[in-house]
């Protein structure tokens, strides 16, 4: 995919001589995967909806209109109906895209960057650094994900930024493991020895020579991590320890309306369905990228 920032110039050429061709090839394979394209289209639509949210919604997502409570879907301007205190559910769900995508992208980006840095240091330097970083990773992995995030949120507090920080802290070490494994393999290869022989510094070798070759699993992981972070934020908000109302988190909406399941199931299934569609789109894209990036899976 052309939007992936790989250094095409300078000494990166030494590392990956045919970057351009590689990414063009990857895009070609990605495009052939129908589900992946559907996923990408869904995300594009969601991004557009998120940007245009003020234009396409008629009501403030936080506004309470006691005159129009408990309206069924498609009643007048309230396309998704209203909840029991008069929130416009359509506005809540549309603005919810912003929350979910923000959490998803920020968490995926920062946990990936942290994981890449620690994984690269660990894999390339080896020895004591490797042992230290990997033991810390093991310790984090020994704590079940939901326990760790709950503990972190408990300490950091509630709110959107607290959730984002907690999810970054509980997400980086999986990437670190993946990156370390690639670095361990790659650092023995000829192009790295060549770079070393040319007298390049360690950091330069790590991040400009080895990293571009280790990116494929990282990109796949990061894509899936976006969906994972969206699910995690929604779960925390569902458990009433995520974002604070009236921030329109889909998980929070499901939690707030689950008591109305019998009378107004749409209040649960519109936000619930929004989580499902968004996460599914990232799963499709991630799977598509995995197949497209792995030469062994190309047929």
């Amino acid at each position: 995919m052309s939007m992936v920032p790989v250094q095409p110039l300078g000494d990166a050429d030494l590392a990956a001589p045919s970057d351009q061709a590689f990414w063009r090839d990857t895009w070609r394979h990605f495009r052939r995967n129908r589900l992946a394209v559907v996923g990408l289209a869904i995300i594009v639509v969601l991004v557009v909806l998120a940007i245009l949210a003020p234009v396409i919604t008629r009501y403030d997502y936080a506004a309470i209109d006691t005159e129009s409570r408990n309206l069924p879907p498609f009643s007048g301007d309230h396309w998704f109906g209203t909840d029991n205190i008069g929130h416009d559910v359509f506005s809540q769900v549309i603005y919810g895209i912003r929350v979910s995508l923000l959490v998803g992208f920020l968490v995926a980006i920062f946990s990936t960057v942290l994981g890449v840095i620690f994984g690269a240091l660990s894999g390339y330097l080896g020895g004591l650094v490797d042992a230290a970083i990997m033991r810390v990773v093991d310790m984090f992995l020994a704590i079940p994900y939901i326990i760790l995030t709950v503990a972190l949120v408990g300490v950091i507090g509630r709110g959107l930024s607290a959730v984002i920080i907690a999810l970054i802290v509980s997400g980086w070490f999986v990437v670190a493991r993946v990156v370390r494994a690639s670095f361990l393999q790659l650092k023995e290869q000829e192009f790295v020895q060549a770079a070393r022989a040319l007298g390049y510094g360690r950091l330069r070798i790590m991040f400009r020579h080895i990293l571009p070759n280790a990116l494929q699993p990282v990109i796949v992981y990061a894509t899936l991590a976006i969906g994972g972070a969206i699910l995690a934020e929604a779960a925390l908000s569902f458990l009433a320890i995520g974002v604070l109302p009236p921030t329109p988190s889909w998980g929070l909406l499901v939690a707030e309306n689950k008591g109305l399941l019998a009378s107004q199931p749409h209040l649960v299934f519109f936000p619930g369905g929004a989580i499902f569609i968004t996460v599914l789109a990232f799963v499709f894209i991630g799977d598509g990228l995995r197949d497209a990036l792995d030469p062994r899976l190309r047929s």
Binding site: D138, F140, A142, P144, G154, V254, L261, A262, F276, V283
Partner: protein, 334 residues
């Protein structure tokens, strides 16, 4: 095998110590007064705060507190709920039963349905059925478990009641029900009706993962030399697939399931909450808004221990099933 076992247990103790240290410092050493956290309100009165601080030894130097914490873990004293003064050990004993029963049936579902689906998908690769499995496993992994749970409640709890669906589909969707069991795990009487929906909900994501991994590894071993050898020996297709293919393909699946035992029993937070199942997970979830940190911390310690044992068992099974691991040889990257 024995030396491998000893090595692994020593590693495990080190990791456990680290994990518990992380949890300790998260709860007790970061900015913010733990006494306030334990009292559950920022505007707690100072006298109560002082009492709590003394009771929990919060005025001691942090290293003394840490030592006491580790001492309590070693003697398995999980503390006392700050809300109702019950011992967390008792809370654990009560909730663990419900969680074990639910987790057991979720694992059964995961094993049977997950592996069967994966094999079907691999044997019929690129067929319509395989494509359907691929899409639906992706879909299941994208549904939040609590939304799936609510969907089941709507389908089997609400709709048959409202006449939208036949009434024989009606299932209870709240709580554990009569709580009658035979040989600990087998539901008797009406019990199964309360068990089935939470078990399937809890199993959903792992079942999808098991199906996908079984499919992938089946397709991988399909290309292995020993499969060609088995066919060349003239074995029939069933013998080749089950006796040679499946046995090797299931190694990573078995490991995955062993790890899952820890997750499914200990941290079924969302499923147990949605179905009001009185297990460890829903108890943790209930303690969170109450800010009953003693319960959250105590149950978390128990869950981390359980999780560690599950991981150890998974590793040992891997080593037992795949001699290359325990002999310290290099295992081919999957």
């Amino acid at each position: 095998m024995t030396s491998y076992l000893i090595r692994r247990i020593l590693q495990l103790l080190l990791v456990l110590w680290g994990a518990l240290t992380i949890i300790f410092f998260l709860f007790f050493a970061l900015p913010g007064d733990p006494a306030e956290l334990l009292l559950g309100s920022e505007k707690a009165n100072p006298v109560a705060q002082q009492l709590v601080a003394e009771r929990y030894g919060l005025n001691d130097p942090i290293l003394v507190q840490y030592g006491n914490f580790l001492g309590r873990v070693v003697t398995f004293d999980l503390g006392e709920s700050f809300k109702d003064r019950t011992s967390v050990n008792e809370v654990l004993a009560r909730t663990a039963q419900a969680s074990l029963r639910l987790g057991f049936w979720a694992i059964m579902f995961e094993v049977v349905i997950g592996i069967a689906t994966g094999i079907y998908s691999a044997v019929r690769k690129y067929s319509f059925g395989d494509a359907l499995v691929t899409v639906s496993t992706a879909a299941v992994s994208a549904i939040p478990v609590y939304v799936l749970g609510l969907f089941f409640q709507q389908t089997f709890g609400v709709l048959p009641n409202q006449g939208g669906l036949p009434s024989w589909l009606q299932l209870p969707t709240n709580g554990i029900g009569p709580d009658t069991w035979f040989l600990f795990f087998i539901p008797t009487g009406e019990q199964w009706k309360y068990l089935i929906l939470p078990a399937i909900t809890l199993a959903s994501v792992s079942t999808a993962i098991v199906a996908r991994i079984t499919r992938t590894t089946m397709l991988e071993v399909e290309k292995a030399d020993y499969m060609r050898t088995a066919r060349a020996k003239g074995l029939n297709e069933r013998q080749v697939l089950v006796g040679h293919g499946l046995r090797n393909a299931l190694i990573p699946v078995v490991t995955l399931i062993a790890i899952d035992v820890g997750t499914v029993i200990g941290v079924a937070v969302l499923t147990e909450t949605v179905f009001n199942w009185p297990g460890i997970g829903s108890r943790i979830a209930r303690a969170i808004p109450q800010r009953d940190f003693a319960v959250i911390l105590g149950l978390s310690i128990a869950v981390i221990l359980l999780y560690a044992v599950a991981n150890l068992v998974a590793d040992l099974m891997y080593a037992w099933l795949d001699p290359r691991v325990r002999l310290g040889g290099k295992v081919a990257e999957r």
